[in-house]
Subunit: 179 residues, 2 copies
């Protein structure tokens, strides 16, 4: 089994990676994905569209060129939409991917970690682990500046709870103010 490049589990029901190609489809089958968040602006390749169709996996195509100094950043609406997808367990298990699984995926996961109340140094450490030598200061700034309060407000309407309500696996995100 061959996972896509830069593959890892982010949290229960949420995975991240670089671009999957047909050699990764067997592995993706093992994840029993319900949806994919695809962050590049380019059209999704035919082979991947066919795979998703055959497995009834929903594609959330939220394309962006990423954070590039000095003037280009991931639009706020796009990141909020992506987070709403991630936080809605009806979409789980979900795979986030861009091209390399470093910058756009890393920025989105960074914002997700802020929602989970991770301290910034730990968020950055994780970002660096995946970006390696390709780490971008523009992404780190973006993550730092990301406003958790506004998305929390947006998300109040979403009832969020992990599937896993059995035994010790019960976990909720810290922002779940409604319970």
């Amino acid at each position: 089994m061959e996972p896509p490049p830069n593959f890892e589990m982010v949290d229960v029901g949420i995975y991240r990676s670089g671009f999957p190609d047909p050699s990764n489809f067997d592995f993706l089958d093992s994840l029993k994905l319900r949806s994919i968040v695809y962050l590049c602006p380019e059209k999704y390749p035919e082979a991947n569209v066919g795979y998703l169709r055959s497995r009834r996996i929903r594609l959330f195509h939220l394309g962006t060129d990423g954070n590039k100094e000095p003037f280009m950043t991931i639009p706020k609406d796009l990141i909020n939409n992506a987070l709403s997808v991630l936080l809605d367990i009806r979409n789980h298990p979900v795979l986030i991917h861009c091209k390399r699984g470093k910058h756009r995926t890393g920025s989105l996961v960074g914002c997700f970690r802020k929602l989970q109340n991770w301290c910034l140094s730990s968020v950055f450490e994780e970002y660096q682990r995946f970006a390696g030598a390709k780490s971008r200061i523009a992404d780190l700034k973006y993550i730092e500046m990301f406003d958790v309060t506004s998305i929390r407000q947006c998300l109040l309407g979403i009832i969020y709870q992990y599937h896993h309500t059995c035994g010790s696996q019960v976990r909720r995100l810290a922002y779940q103010e409604r319970s």
Copy 2:
């Protein structure tokens, strides 16, 4: 919340990291750990022992100096014992850690990925992501040479199944020959 250094989720119910200190205890609480696999030979620190006791977390102390060229390797029995702990869901959620979460933890996770039938290049990619510049050829050799067949035989007696038997979350490891 401050996760321990090099923290990541390996799979449902399995986490990895470097050495947690008291500043990480709040975060560990959020994982609702049932056990810890500790891979250093040194005595577990008082503060950590106290934390585990207060949370009724079981400590599996499987100490090793790791793989060091030319003659020192992680004993086969130790790695098999550690894998047995990881694969027994009664121990989940479980955190694996050593000092830095790079070499000993990386070797154990590498062997675990082989059990999951990951191809070697993906196993190595993941190892490198956590080890970074400190990557050790001795660990890569150890992972490559690790004999999956023998541990599979040992594990046949363990009925292995993830907690999460609800909906699309049903996942079993590929070696589960009994079902």
